[in-house]
């Protein structure tokens, strides 16, 4: 292989700045999407446990549809095709801002929320039924039993899968490059096509992704050690 390595391309100067701006966009995209996914996932999870049939069925359909469709296709749908199903006012508002970023956030949020909703539901279901019965018979209302007895325990158990979803989301955010969001993957490719130094550009981006994965996995280990183990040990 006659390849002339030139690491200077990615350690300083214009191309370095491109990569850094890519990291910034990846982080921003991931953080905004995980926050929204959590909120939407919570709503869907509650709907999925509703005692009213149609609401439960809707949530179930939502979960199955968005979990079983590729994220890339969903991204294309929101980016290219959403204008026909959204009201004109929403379209106007979206186009005024950063539409690529908005479409990526919508796609990532909807996709991830479907996974998060299932995690939350299984967290709630893992709390023994007797806890609810005991709470109710000692005079708590349904809402208060949920608020003070069930959810505090369920949330603790749901946090590790949530961190895992955040890890997936961070990696999935690389798909946003296909609709022109200038995140890390997009910038690495830009650097490659401008300099022909693909090896260096991809290595740098890979290292950044690995570092971010490492940090998120570390958070999970830390949570397990600091919060879950002490509870289990008791």
């Amino acid at each position: 292989m006659h390849y002339h390595f030139d690491w200077a391309v990615v350690t300083g100067g214009k191309y370095y700045e491109w990569l850094v701006s890519g990291v910034y966009v990846t982080v921003k995209l991931s953080l905004v999407s995980i926050a929204l996914s959590f909120l939407l996932g919570l709503v869907i999870a509650v709907m999925r446990m509703s005692r009213f049939g149609p609401v439960r069925w809707f949530a179930h359909g939502y979960l199955e549809f968005f979990r079983n469709t590729p994220l890339l296709v969903q991204m294309f749908f929101w980016y290219f095709g959403s204008y026909k199903i959204l009201p004109q006012s929403v379209n106007d508002w979206l186009v005024k801002g950063d539409f690529e970023f908005a479409a990526a956030v919508i796609a990532l949020t909807i996709y991830t929320s479907a996974f998060i909703a299932e995690d939350i539901r299984s967290g709630v279901r893992s709390i023994p039924k007797e806890q609810m019965e005991a709470a109710r018979s000692s005079g708590f209302s349904y809402i208060r039993s949920m608020r003070y007895i069930i959810l505090p325990q369920a949330v603790r158990l749901t946090i590790p899968p949530l961190i895992n979803q955040f890890l997936n989301l961070m990696k999935n955010s690389s798909l946003a490059m296909t609709i022109g969001v200038a995140e890390l993957m997009y910038q690495a490719r830009q650097v490659e096509s401008y300099t022909f130094k693909g090896f260096e550009a991809f290595s740098a981006a890979t290292l950044v992704y690995l570092a971010m994965s490492f940090v998120i996995t570390g958070l999970m280990t830390l949570y397990d050690r600091m919060v879950l183990q002490p509870i289990k040990g008791r």
Binding site: N68, L72, S174, L175, G198, F202, Y209
Partner: protein, 233 residues
């Protein structure tokens, strides 16, 4: 017309969505999606088994080495793995590799590392007494693994493998990025050609993917219930 959407663009070229230019030309569309998924899954099964066995090795060097490989691949986005393969394979093999095999290699590498975790968990999930019993009846460690532990572990892993197949079908959509004409690529081509019907086209392929994936999701749930039932008796 469904809710203001006009699906004639899809009905008109339905065979193209399902088979690409086959039988007059190369296979594409849903056919190629399934081909990529099946071949990659088969290879990932082998890769996952090897990596999984290495990661429970008693030799620390092998154990840590394989874990490092697994964790590195798991820490990357699939898109990154595809770019690496697209970029490295031609220079390693001297070019001439079709793009579909680049994608199969990337999908195999990526999914093998996920499968290896399933294999590892499956092996560690078999009670230790089984290995001890096997060894005390005179089997070597290798024989015990091959004839006693793995057959039981693999059976428990079947539902997880089917789930991986679902992820694999979804992941093949990324082959679009290197120009392999699977379903997503066919859809973008159609969209570029017709310009006016993106909503209809992407909704249509979303439904196709959903039908494929949902069928296998249900299969995996059914297998899980059946396994639980068989264990109970």
């Amino acid at each position: 017309m469904i809710g203001g959407l006009d699906f004639t663009v899809v009905w008109k070229d339905l065979p193209y969505f399902f088979l690409g230019r086959y039988p007059k030309g190369p296979l594409g569309g849903v056919g190629l999606t399934l081909y990529l998924a099946v071949v990659s899954l088969f290879l990932s099964f082998i890769g996952g088994l090897i990596l999984g066995l290495l990661s429970v090795s008693r030799n620390r060097l092998i154990k840590w080495g394989s874990s490092a490989v697994i964790q590195t691949i798991r820490g990357m986005p699939l898109l990154m793995v595809i770019f690496w393969m697209f970029f490295l394979l031609p220079s390693l093999l001297g070019g001439g590799m079709p793009a579909s095999w680049t994608v199969i290699t990337a999908l195999t590498l990526f999914t093998s590392s996920y499968m290896s975790e399933i294999v590892r968990a499956g092996i560690l999930g078999i009670p230790k007494g089984q290995t001890e019993a096997a060894i005390s009846t005179g089997l070597s460690h290798r024989q015990a693994m091959l004839h006693i532990i793995l057959p039981q572990a693999l059976r428990n892993m079947i539902p997880s493998f089917v789930n991986q197949f679902v992820s694999m079908i979804k992941d093949t959509s990324l082959a679009f990025i290197v120009g392999v004409s699977e379903l997503t690529q066919v859809a973008t081509q159609m969209n570029n050609r017709t310009m006016l019907y993106p909503t209809e086209i992407f909704l249509f392929i979303a439904v196709i993917y959903f039908i494929l994936c949902f069928a296998f999701t249900e299969l995996s749930r059914w297998l899980e219930r059946r396994l639980a039932y068989q264990k109970a008796i």
